[in-house]
Symmetry: C2
Subunit: 297 residues, 2 copies
Amino acid sequence: MRFSGLSAFPLTPMNESGIQEQVFTQLIDRLTKARVDSIGVLGSTGSYPYLTRHERAQVTQLALRHACGIPVMVGIGALRTRDVLDLAEDAQKAGANAVMLAPVSYQTLTDQEVYGLYETVSTSLSIPLCVYDNPATTHFSFSDELFSQIAQLPQVKSIKMSPLTGDHTSAKNRVDNLRKLLPAHVSIGVSGDWGGLTGLKAGCDIWYSAIGGLFPETILGITRDVQMGEYDLAEQFANDLIPIWELFRRHGSIRVIATAAEILGVTDHFPLPHPLRPLGEEDRFLLKAILQELELS
Amino acid sequence: MRFSGLSAFPLTPMNESGIQEQVFTQLIDRLTKARVDSIGVLGSTGSYPYLTRHERAQVTQLALRHACGIPVMVGIGALRTRDVLDLAEDAQKAGANAVMLAPVSYQTLTDQEVYGLYETVSTSLSIPLCVYDNPATTHFSFSDELFSQIAQLPQVKSIKMSPLTGDHTSAKNRVDNLRKLLPAHVSIGVSGDWGGLTGLKAGCDIWYSAIGGLFPETILGITRDVQMGEYDLAEQFANDLIPIWELFRRHGSIRVIATAAEILGVTDHFPLPHPLRPLGEEDRFLLKAILQELELS
């Protein structure tokens, strides 16, 4: 797969008994209809660490079956190297186009341990690997030096950076500095949807987007505008989304997106695993009003 | 079980294939020989979140079979409420004397979500529950208000506080304040071994000890000294351990204890799951020298 453009990360809708296959298929259909550049299943928004190995294989197979030729990247993160290797094998056997790995932790990990994890996993792979930095959930932060070392490993093809903060200049410096440390074949991706546009404008190759997993047309539109140099147009659409980023910051993007899916009738209940809970009544009402006004798709 | 005195938390020795039953049994034998007040298996030192449900049942059964009548508490923490309920049922069916639950997180949890987790689990239990606060691994911190609410739930019998910092006065204030908010039947426990003695002197009922899982006689000696009011004697023994706390702070207690087990010949290799790694050569040498000097048991 090419690590550029929009990679959309759908929810994995579920209840306490298991995956809701039909709802998940509908989410994938929204992405293929919009023709996103790639699909990232079992990312953080896809609740990967909450699922069994069997459920993760089920989600992977469903996504691949319904992807209509769009490349599918599969999250293989787990606490234990043993389990990551099993999940990598499952994804490869199912025909995934790439895998994505975050250094999930319980005991705080050292740089050496994280390097060792990527070394072991990458040498076992025959498909591309995306390095996933998400300190808010893994509680591990990559240094640039560590990124640079891991980027030399076989199969490493992209780095999904932790959310960019700050203005255009600081984002551009961040991306430029990282670019110098990476081989030319390793792409740089932005995550944290509120920084998506800033990241693309700063030179990121790909937007790994959670909100794009529910509203692919809207987010693909912004992505294409940037790719064509239509920054003002992109900015205009992106500004509409600011009230949503505010809810993301307060509740975490996954609760907002899951509540939005429920409001839109994509699912008939809050589709995340317990103990996670939906937004309270007041913020749900606010989100509903925002969605009605913006008419995202 | 009575939630007082010394509760010793052994390692779960393993390699990448599974649990090392014989080594684990030897660790339990050390605890029963020393006659600790209770045994806590599958705590953080017992690597609970890295294991499968089957392996956790295996560890629970082994501990109960070899506990010689000493009460056994079993860690049932997991990311997902569904899994916690399964693990609670397994522990109960095996005959555990109590369970211990930490709010393990990937997505950051809200107070409401954590309360909901304890509410669901506690109402499903017929054995005592210890509430386990360990922000360093769960990335959730209990407020006193939340402790107070959870302490009202059925089966809640103890709170394992996050490590105490500061001097005697601040520790005593902390314990006194918490005590006022809890029902009389809920005991308060100290964790983080470097604050163990401070915690007991400040009025904690129980020392939940990781180092006590490897050196039960030494830690039980300190505990009994405090229980008998022999503070000076306790202080004298505890001061010997200061170089070990320094290694704990730098490497995390579990890596130090696992490396110590290897140095002592209890296991023939570093017994933790990958990607975790042992101390480097220099600190291993230092630890070996400390252990030789102190002759802990």
